[in-house]
């Protein structure tokens, strides 16, 4: 009778031992110069770049991903200090995090490649003097239209609320983005706090419900490419990638001025591998790394040296490299107070039920 237990355990342990062997075989080579735990956006930093960094520096990189700034903030807070060495907050989230004392100051001396970044992207209001952050990539949340399925002329965020768009759209699963877009379609700021205006925004937002087929922040291009959705409100680069798969898809920059963003490299308080983190950030600032990034995730890249090296195919592509006037017309998010966010949260819940 005993041999049944033995048999079961034996089988399980053989299976386990087998997997451990295959695992060890692949993982053992690197890891001589320590580790680096990075927490990044989904579909944003190519594996190839991370692997190139691991090879060059002998540092093992453990990457995990998040879908919204708020998810990231919640996770970093709930983890014990030092769980992550690098995070990737957007503009307003950088402010929010350093105000809460959640970020380490960056060692400027280690950032030898900072010169590759165009000066128009440095010293922004969300982090004056780039004390805590270095820009990675940015862009706008634009509109995608599959012109073979949608014939009406879409030029603005407001057009997305038309009833002929019923059940066609994939939109970002991000309440600041969608509510902000609604506000802009009414001519208000994305960071509206006025109660009366918020009520108006809410009523408007609920009319969007019938038009939304899918909420997806991670890979809205998938639904566009697969044909599940024929219009989108999503990140410009996602649209650029969908356009490469399906030439019927067009990008539209809203006439109201778009929701713009810039994502940044930051080091959270108490990071265990600060020096490795600085090496990584500095590596990502090289022209070579930035070019690899753009080849896979074509966002607006502040690395002007690398953009020049990519040639006019890249810099003239509106979806990949949104024109300066689009960026100038755009608006950044700013962090809001709890009471306002509670109102936002409430209308979001009502939209998603």
């Amino acid at each position: 009778m005993k041999n049944i237990i033995i048999k079961t355990l034996l089988l399980i342990s053989i299976l386990a031992a087998g997997t451990m062997l295959t695992g060890c075989g692949t993982k053992a080579e690197s890891a001589s110069n320590g580790e680096l735990n990075i927490y990044i956006w989904t579909e944003y930093v190519p594996d190839s770049v991370i692997e190139a960094f691991e090879e060059e520096y002998g540092i093992t990189v453990n990457a995990s991903t998040f879908s919204t700034n708020e998810d990231m903030l919640a996770k970093v807070k709930s983890e014990s200090e030092g769980a992550f060495d690098i995070v990737q907050p957007s503009d307003y989230m950088v402010t929010q995090m350093y105000e809460q004392g959640m970020l380490e100051k960056l060692d400027k001396d280690a950032l030898t490649n900072l010169g590759n970044i165009g000066s128009q992207y440095l010293d922004q209001a969300y982090d004056p003097g780039n004390v805590y952050s270095v820009p990675y990539q940015g862009g706008v949340a634009a509109i995608a239209v599959n012109t073979s399925k949608i014939t009406s002329d879409i030029t603005s965020y407001a057009d997305l609320f038309n009833s002929d768009m019923a059940n066609t759209m994939v939109v970002l699963d991000d309440y600041r983005a969608v509510i902000g877009m609604t506000a802009r379609s009414l001519g208000y700021s994305m960071n509206e706090t006025d109660a009366a205006k918020l009520t108006e925004i809410k009523d408007r937002l609920l009319t969007l419900k019938d038009n939304i087929k899918l909420f997806d922040s991670d890979s809205p291009k998938s639904a566009l490419i697969s044909g599940d959705c024929t219009a989108a409100f999503c990140w410009s680069a996602e649209i650029a990638l969908a356009m490469e798969e399906n030439p019927d898809i067009k990008i539209v920059f809203p006439t109201e001025g778009a929701y713009k963003f810039m994502d940044n490299w930051c080091i959270p308080k108490g990071a265990k591998n600060y020096d490795n983190a600085m090496k990584f950030i500095n590596y990502m600032l090289t022209s070579e790394a930035a070019q690899l990034v753009m080849a896979e995730f074509p966002y607006l890249n502040p690395n002007t040296v690398a953009v020049a090296a990519m040639g006019s195919d890249y810099s003239d592509n509106e979806a990949k490299n949104p024109p300066q006037e689009v960026m100038n017309a755009g608006e950044y998010l700013v962090s809001l107070d709890n009471d306002t966010l509670a109102v936002y949260e409430e209308m979001w819940t009502e939209l998603k039920q």
Binding site: M1, T19, E43, N62, S64, T65, S78, S219, E245
Partner: protein, 267 residues
């Protein structure tokens, strides 16, 4: 004659009905198998670009995927061992001894079984965050063991209800001490229940999504890796690994099942 025909037509309808249900259950598996042979390399990996075996080889180059599989197995093995030890002791102890608070323990055991997993997940998350247990392999093992213990106990208890106390007494009468009796008499009799409980703990651990989702830190298990890959389209190598695991589990269970069946006959 008429009666027979009627019966036959019932039989046919029944067969069709059952086939439809099986089709419903297996259709996604078919999709997974087919997609594991899809030669496409562009996300979201939906359009069919021809047949290839490549993914079954490429999967062994995907370090992250293998790492997550390895993590899953380590966690499952540790969980199985811990849940089986704690569960076996508790099941036997609760059967043999009367003590105050027994019904409370009983009630508590049903909590992880009955409440939605998400509640267990967030409650462990808040605890781990409060007392700063680092999230990772260790916290996952603790969490998985927590929801596995009751299943192990229930499995063994089902076996114990048919257990004859007198063998144990006989053994003690013959001069064997308590420990010896436990290992030589009690344990072997309970073996099928223990093995069944262990297998259940193992299965629950390798497939857990929700509790792991809240307690994993940066440690990736295979189900969480799948969850992440769903965000941008499940790549064919993930499908290929799933197919291999399905085949592996089927073999494992066939082997252990035949062992248990044989064991039953010997008893």
């Amino acid at each position: 004659m008429k009666q027979k025909m009627k019966k036959n037509s019932y039989g046919v309808v029944g067969k069709i009905y059952c086939s439809l249900i099986y089709a419903f259950l297996f259709l996604p598996i078919v999709v997974i198998v087919v997609n594991s042979f899809n030669a496409t390399t562009s996300k979201p990996y939906l359009s069919w670009k021809g047949f290839t075996f490549d993914w079954y080889l490429k999967l062994f180059e995907n370090e992250e995927l293998l790492q997550s599989f390895q993590n899953t197995m380590i966690i499952a093995v540790c969980t199985t061992i811990m849940a089986t030890i704690v569960g076996t002791l508790a099941a036997v102890g609760m059967y043999k001894y009367k003590f105050r608070g027994k019904s409370t323990i009983d009630a508590l055991l049903y909590i992880p079984v009955v409440i939605p997993e998400i509640v267990l997940g967030i409650s462990l998350l808040t605890l781990f965050a409060k007392i700063s247990i680092p999230r990772g392999m260790f916290s996952l093992i603790l969490a998985h063991t927590t929801f596995s213990i009751p299943y192990v106990i229930f499995n063994i208890r089902a076996r114990l209800s048919r257990y004859d106390n007198s063998i144990e007494e006989a053994s003690m009468d013959l001069g064997a001490n308590r420990l010896k009796t436990f290992f030589n008499i009690t344990l072997p009799v309970l073996a099928p229940g223990i093995a069944g409980g262990a297998l259940l703990a193992f299965t629950l651990s390798i497939d857990d999504v929700i509790v792991s989702y809240f307690t994993n830190g940066q440690t990736m298990t295979l189900p969480l890796k799948v969850m992440e890959s769903i965000k941008s389209g499940v790549s064919p190598d993930v499908n290929a690994l799933s197919v291999l695991i399905l085949i592996g589990t089927a073999l494992l269970v066939v082997l252990t099942q035949s062992g248990i069946l044989k064991g039953k006959k010997n008893m």
